[in-house]
């Protein structure tokens, strides 16, 4: 390869310096405000002209910083890599291999939406927040996503550019009403709300000072907000669509996020069934992708609809046909009283599925091809009852545990599972899924 990069280097959107300058200015203003009286005395001593000049200098310095950091940030797409070159004093070059791509996210925060820009993030194991391309023009971000995915899939550069956005087919759209109802029916949200109301009242009653109540209320409000309204805002208009370059997730009311998970990247699928949802036969589906932060696939949907989406993520897996087998009654009830009934395990030719929990039932499904290592562990109490646990480790730093299996079954499972993951790895699709 030539010393100079062949691919043309590009810069981020010219809006970027504004956003980079904004953060330090806000921080400075914040520090001054926090200093309070002393800063006030200081400012009072200065004449009006001097004040304006100081403000101007501040804006100029940080504006210059923003401009320079934008000027010195370049990115380029080569056949195999996305290269990001950045830094004025401390140079940093990141080469992100496209065939190791786990997911692509395009996010449009509220402010960025107003100005028509978006940020693009490649999820590869080990990437930092720094490797986010913020900001790009909205059209450019979408085109770049399509190009990156096409190149990662193994198309030639000419094809990749010409291919453009792959057509998508909608699989599922969650109505805002369903999300609101599902949140109202989750115990965690209800508990947060109850805590948020009761704690300040309790503090007021104890200290008989309304100010103390307000002081406790403020942080509580943050938590309650994140658990209820915040979740509603991010899960609003949740759309799952399928396209040749992967599964598309679009969601958000104020901040819009567009995530793409290429085929064959999902390490674990988790089906969550909270207690109050069971009458409506609703489930929530979460997924684990190595190096990615997104973990929700479907915030709420009927079981059939959710299974239909999962069948796209794990092709050829029939979830309804999984035969779950509970833990043996005789020993388990002494090891984990009452809750032992929640543990169950199903192994099919394609997946290892373990279930746990009684109130909120969670089923974790790992394709055999994604298993990194298998472990068997057995404590003294379990051994006395003839039981053992089997753990399956996946690449997304997750471990799926099948607890309380009969000891001989577990020993057999350990070796059978190692053999299964070896053979299904051999038939797994390549990293470049179009080749």
């Amino acid at each position: 390869m030539a010393a100079e990069p062949v691919a043309s280097e590009r810069r981020l959107h010219p809006f970027t310096p504004l956003r980079r300058a904004w953060v330090p200015i806000a921080a400075t203003v914040g520090v001054i405000v926090q200093q309070g009286d002393r800063a006030g005395e200081w400012v009072a001593d200065l004449s009006a002209l001097l004040r304006v000049l100081t403000l101007l200098a501040l804006v100029l310095v940080f504006g210059l910083y923003g401009f320079l950091s934008w000027w010195f940030t370049h990115f380029a797409v080569t056949d195999t890599e996305l290269r990001i070159r950045t830094g004025l004093l401390f140079r940093r070059t990141a080469h992100i291999r496209l065939d190791r791509l786990q997911a692509v996210d395009v996010t449009r925060p509220l402010l960025a939406r107003l100005t028509g820009v978006a940020s693009l993030r490649l999820d590869v194991i080990g990437t930092d927040d720094k490797d986010e391309l913020a900001f790009l023009g909205e059209k450019e971000a979408v085109a770049l996503r399509a190009e990156l995915l096409a190149r990662a899939a193994g198309f030639t550069p000419e094809e990749a550019v010409a291919l453009g956005q792959a057509p998508e087919r909608e699989l599922l759209r969650v109505s805002p009403r369903d999300i609101a109802v599902s949140l109202a029916l989750s115990l965690s949200v209800l508990a947060a709300l109850a805590g948020g109301i009761l704690a300040p009242v309790f503090v007021w009653w104890i200290s008989s000072s309304p100010w103390a109540a307000v002081v406790t209320l403020l942080p509580m409000l943050g938590a309650v907000w994140a658990g209820s309204a915040g979740r509603f805002l991010t899960e609003y208009d949740w759309t799952v669509a399928e396209s040749p370059d992967g599964l598309r997730l679009d969601h958000g009311l104020l901040d819009r996020a567009h995530e793409t998970v290429p085929p064959g990247r999902v390490q674990t699928v988790r089906i969550v069934e909270p207690l109050l949802w069971r009458r409506r036969n609703w489930v929530r589906v979460e997924l684990a992708v190595a190096g990615s932060k997104n973990d929700v696939l479907v915030p709420v949907a009927s079981r059939d609809a959710a299974y239909a989406v999962i069948s796209r993520v794990l092709p050829g897996v029939d979830l309804a046909a999984l035969a779950f087998e509970g833990s043996p009654r005789s020993g388990s009830r002494w090891v984990v009283p009452l809750w032992w009934k929640g543990y169950a395990l199903a192994v099919s030719p394609d997946v290892f599925a373990a279930r746990h929990g009684r109130l909120c039932r969670r089923t974790e499904i790992v394709p055999h091809a994604k298993v990194q290592s298998v472990r068997l562990s057995q404590g003294p109490w379990e051994r006395a009852r003839g039981l053992a646990d089997v753990q399956v480790d996946t690449g997304a730093n997750g471990t799926v545990t099948a607890r309380l299996r009969a000891a001989d079954e577990a020993a057999e499972l350990l070796h059978a599972q190692a053999a299964r993951s070896r053979t299904s790895r051999a038939s797994a699709r390549p990293d470049r899924w179009m080749t």
């Binding site: 990194q372 298998v374 471990t399 070896r422 790895r425 797994a428």
Partner: protein, 163 residues
Amino acid sequence: METGTTGGTGGPEWVGLPGGLLTLRRLLLVIWMTLLAAVTAVVLGLAVGPAWAAVGGFWLAVLAWGWVLMGRNWRSWRYAERPDDLLISRGVLWREQTVVPYGRMQLVEVTSGPLERRFGLASVQLHTAAAATDAKIPGLVPAEAERLRDRLTALGEARSAGL
């Protein structure tokens, strides 16, 4: 290329650890416990009364208990190289068995601290893409550790697979 142990289809061929690790651990235990016993006996004997010096005997009991425990723990460690994966088994009360397929290994590490080197010991640690995989074989003879490392990397390359 030669692949795997020609052990047939029977059970895995388990290999235990060499005695060096047990000697090292027991030696450390004896040194520390006798030191603690001596200090406790002297301090209590001088400060409270000569009869109290017997409390130092507590550490000797710990020593005896630890001596037996270490022997059992050392005996419980064993590993087996199978045609396609490595098996590690350990633990007396809390037993654990780990299977790591060769194709999943990302990195094989041989480490040896100053004390371990003095006793001619080295550890082999296997890393996969999952951080939860804790496949470590401590207290091997350096030559065996290196042989294992080279064999595992060769087998890993032959069977390598992505995530």
